[in-house]
Symmetry: C2
Subunit: 232 residues, 2 copies
C-alpha cells in the first residue's frame, strides 16, 4: 500500500462571513461558539470539513444548518493557515463570504443556534483570526461589487433603485450621486422595471425592479464599472 508516510495531518474547517442588509446598514451574522475553547464567545459560522464533502459542500452545509437557507451566494475567499491560529490544534480554515437576503433569514431562522446580526461597524471582538477574516471579506466584497452585480443577492426579489443605492453607499462607505447611480444601474440592462411602486419610503414612491435572471447569469463574468471615481 502506497502512502504519504510521515506527513502531518491537520483539521480543515470552513468559516463564513455572512453579509446582510437591513435597508439602512450592512450587517454580519455571528454566532455564539458552542465548543471549547472560547465557548460562548462570538465567532463566524463555521465547521469542520467532513470526510465525504468538499470545503464548498461544508460551507453550504454549515449555512444550511445555522440559517436554514439553501442556495445562497457563496464565494471562496482564501485559506487561513498560520500554524498557531487555533490554540488547541493545527487547523486550517477556508474563508467564505456569503450574501443573503436578511428577510429570508428571519423567516427560515434555525433557533438551535444563538445567531445575531451585528452592524458591520459595531460588532463584538471575534475569536482567533476571525476579525482579520471579516476585514478581508469586506475588502473582497467591495472589490467584487465594483465590477460585478452581486449586491442584488442581499436584496429581496423586488427592490427599488434607492434601496440599491443605499446598499452601494454602505458597502463602499461613500456617497454616490443618486442621479448618476440610477442611470448607471439601469443602463446595465440587468433590471426589469415593474409596474408596482414602493410607497413606504417617500411620497412619490419608487418603482420596484426585479433582476433579469437570464442576463444576470449570462453576464455574471463580465466587467462592469459600478463605482464612480474608483480608487481602491
Amino acid at each position: 500500500m502506497i502512502e504519504y508516510s510521515g506527513q502531518p495531518h491537520y483539521l480543515v474547517a470552513v468559516d463564513c462571513i455572512v453579509f446582510g442588509f437591513d435597508g439602512e446598514h450592512l450587517k454580519i451574522l455571528l454566532v455564539k461558539r458552542g465548543l471549547e475553547p472560547e465557548i460562548n464567545k462570538w465567532s463566524l459560522m463555521g465547521g469542520f470539513v467532513g470526510a465525504n464533502e468538499s470545503p464548498d459542500d461544508a460551507a453550504n452545509r454549515v449555512l444550511k444548518k445555522m440559517t436554514g437557507l439553501e442556495g445562497v451566494y457563496l464565494e471562496q475567499m482564501q485559506i487561513y493557515g498560520e500554524p498557531g491560529r487555533d490554540p488547541i490544534e493545527r487547523t486550517l480554515s477556508v474563508g467564505y463570504f456569503a450574501l443573503i437576503d436578511i428577510h429570508k433569514y428571519e423567516a427560515q431562522l434555525n433557533d438551535d443556534y444563538e445567531a445575531e446580526w451585528f452592524l458591520i461597524n459595531d460588532r463584538p471582538k471575534l475569536i482567533f483570526d476571525h476579525d482579520q477574516m471579516v476585514a478581508d471579506a469586506r475588502k473582497k466584497l467591495r472589490y467584487k461589487a465594483a465590477l460585478h452585480p452581486i449586491l442584488f443577492e442581499m436584496l429581496p426579489k423586488k427592490f427599488t433603485i434607492p434601496q440599491l443605492h443605499i446598499l452601494f453607499e454602505e458597502v463602499n462607505d461613500t456617497k454616490i450621486d443618486t442621479r448618476n447611480f440610477s442611470r448607471k444601474i439601469t443602463s446595465t440592462g440587468l433590471l426589469i422595471k415593474l409596474a408596482e411602486k414602493d410607497r413606504t419610503g417617500s411620497k412619490k414612491g419608487a418603482f420596484y425592479f426585479k433582476l433579469d435572471k437570464k442576463k444576470y447569469n449570462a453576464n455574471s463574468q463580465a466587467f462592469l464599472n459600478l463605482m464612480p471615481n474608483l480608487k481602491i
Copy 2:
C-alpha cells in the same frame, strides 16, 4: 485537555502553476513527479504543508526548492478539496499561480528536479485535478491582468512595449491594436522610458522601459482597464 475529538484530519498540500514568457509564447513549468502514485508523470510543482509553516510559506518553499527563485509573484487561487481527488489519501491542495521571469529561472535552475517549460497550449496531460488547476489559473491570470499591471512580473527588468504587447496578446489569446496598446500602457504612468533601445527585433529598434516601482507598488490595488473591448 480540550480537543476537537473525532474530527477527521487530512493532508494539506500546495500546488503552483508557474507561468513564464519566452518572448513569443506563454509557458508553464512542470515537473516529473517524484513519488508514488503516478511517479514520473508530469505534474505541477507542489508539496505538503509542513507543521510549522503556512500554506503561503509552503508555496514559497516549494518554488525556492524547485526553481532556486525567491520573492516571486505568487497569488493564492483557491482550494481543491474534492474527497476523491487524490486516490491514495484525502489531500486538500491550495492552488497558487506564480509569475516568473523565465530568464531568471534559467540562471537559477535547480537541477535536482526534472522540470521543463511547456507551451501552455501544448502540454502533457497532468495528474489528478492538475489540468483543472491550470485552466483555473489561466482564467484568473487573464482576469487579474486585465485590471492590474501584473504581467510585468514575467518580463526582465528592461523590456520594450512590443514585448509587453505580445505578452498581452498571448495571455488573452487575442489581437490587440499595437498603436492603442502603446498609448494605453504608457498612459498608466507606470513605465519609465530608458535611453537605450532594443535593436534585436527590428531595424528601428524599440525603446527599453522599466517599471516605476514606487508607482507600481502604490497602484497595485487600483483598477486599470488594460484590455480593450473586454468581455470575459
